[in-house]
Symmetry: C2
Amino acid sequence: MVTTRYEQLLQRLRGDGFRLTPQRMAVLRVLADDTGHPTVEQVYERVRVDYPTTSLATIYKTIDMLKGIGEVLELSVGESHRYDGRDPRPHPHLICEDCGSIIDLAIDGPLGDPAFLSAAATEVAAARGYHDVMPQLEFRGRCAACHASALAADRTL
Amino acid sequence: MVTTRYEQLLQRLRGDGFRLTPQRMAVLRVLADDTGHPTVEQVYERVRVDYPTTSLATIYKTIDMLKGIGEVLELSVGESHRYDGRDPRPHPHLICEDCGSIIDLAIDGPLGDPAFLSAAATEVAAARGYHDVMPQLEFRGRCAACHASALAADRTL
DNA sequence: GTGTGTGCAAAGATTTTGCAGCGGT
DNA sequence: ACCGCTGCAAAATCTTTGCACACAC
């Protein structure tokens, strides 16, 4: 039986005693479906398609709640915050710091193995007395398109 | 011959044709010395001890410049940005998301080896056509002190 | 002397908060 | 019916920007 990520989130919230309002469910649907690592503003816009009265504050509150229970990852690119609600397990990201695009990486070797990273996190946590430690691996640079336009801009100067 | 990080930064800026104003040098000194991963505000306060007329905007501009040339790492903890100017090479950080403390980690195995992480970054960059890709490995959790006070707060409820 | 960097103050962007009323359980 | 959640608008942050002047080169 296949359980979608959306259903998984619904169950988690029900189990933890959170109320399932239409606004919340809409936010869950966006975060569960969107592979593009949306900003708060983007989630807001998509939720408003179905629920036009929803406020930005509600989006913030809902995402904060999901972050708090570990179902959504927050990534920072420059000044903007981006969210990954599709896979809460540790996986590497490839980030373009110019255009802000984020790609979920599947790479070979130990770095691509969630178990390996989690083991390292557990070890570090034990050694330092930390709790609930999650590993986060990011590769930050400039995508092909942004690199090309940066070069073009240079020539113009 | 021992070259301090501060002198290293001075040379880099001179070589790249940046002007060495007293304000800039003060910012460099703070970033080169401070092991505590300061915020912009903290850099500001420390610079103002010696140069009381320095403005916040100048701190922002200087740090942006240093980020741009890869001599300072930016880390996000919650809403606040923190800076590491002591070692621009990729090294793992242990972050407490409650109190915002950041520890530079020296760990065993491939994850603690800058060369290994850099090699992975180079590989990813080649595979995806990205440029100037830097790896960033973080372990995010809750330090012993914050964990203890979170438990205490729970009991109070 | 030239042009970059600085300081100030204002604007812009992002996120949080207070509170009255609605609605999920 | 209760209490958590929502929506609105205002407030609090945080960061950037425009411009005139200063000073590093």
